[in-house]
Symmetry: C2
Subunit: 203 residues, 2 copies
Amino acid sequence: MSPPISTADRHAALRAALTDIAEHRIAEGGLAALKARDLAKEAGCSLGAIYLHFPDLDALVFAVQARTLDLLDAAVSAAAGEGAAPAPRILALSLAYLDWAAANRPRWAALFEHRLAADAEVPPDYRAQRARLFRHVEAPLTALLPQATPAEREAMARSIFAAVHGIVSLGLDEKLETTPLPALRAQLAAVVLALARGLAAPG
Amino acid sequence: MSPPISTADRHAALRAALTDIAEHRIAEGGLAALKARDLAKEAGCSLGAIYLHFPDLDALVFAVQARTLDLLDAAVSAAAGEGAAPAPRILALSLAYLDWAAANRPRWAALFEHRLAADAEVPPDYRAQRARLFRHVEAPLTALLPQATPAEREAMARSIFAAVHGIVSLGLDEKLETTPLPALRAQLAAVVLALARGLAAPG
């Protein structure tokens, strides 16, 4: 005879189930596909039960976004070892970001579409996880900008990430004329390599 | 005695009034501030009357976005004459974009937050107007990339716009640690000038 399931276990199981369902919905249809009523129906719980496990729907979205950042970080980390010189290293990271975004568009877009109420705070763990994503660019920047302070390198890593994100974001946006992926990869490469050349040759 | 107001005039007046009200709401509070019911109330018309003048709320949003692009284009155009060499010219355009976005955040953000239904089309006029915004970068690129074909220059202008937009967008995003405007301007300048240096010195 199996032991009785504790209340704490049932709570943890429902919390995990709600996160799984929300993750699946966001991965398929983006944030627009996340409705509390549908979630409750699919999880077989009441609408109120969701709010026993998450203070609000934003908290559930952040639980999913943390999983998304884990997957994105794994894809970018896998590319971090590629290339010996700084420029090809930054390029490999940039292309890995593009390829992952192109292959996971709804959940990638959800990272940036999620809008919080004016008085709501981004969870500190989530901030830290996102900051780690910029860090990958800092290592190759050390070789490219040997004179820079760590703070300057950190700011530049963040700006390079932002520039790459802008090219990926407008390139994949269905509202703009979508650029075919090979052309977008070539364009991203042209910009990233020019930027690396320019950083290596101070004006 | 003034002549009677024609039905066509009354229609045009209500259409203009609805666009004005929507523009004001988006400029104050972004897309989230645009609700058909509130619009109708403020315009003193029925909810149904909105849909006599606009096929749907997206069409009204596009009417406002066209005005936003006009204002943004005017701000960027004003900077297009600054600087003689290509790099300071591209920098002036980039800083004008950042400054305008920072000063008009809700309506600037609305340009990129607006999501259409999957089967909806972006109006061709709006596409053309948006494409003109990238054009400003093409003129200085001619001097920087004399060997490039017009198509290559157009693609590079678009990518530079996208990279600048990415830095502006993540820099102004209230979800990320917001960078103070002077630091963001300095960061944008570092990236744009490095990119221009790298483009001028092909690898």
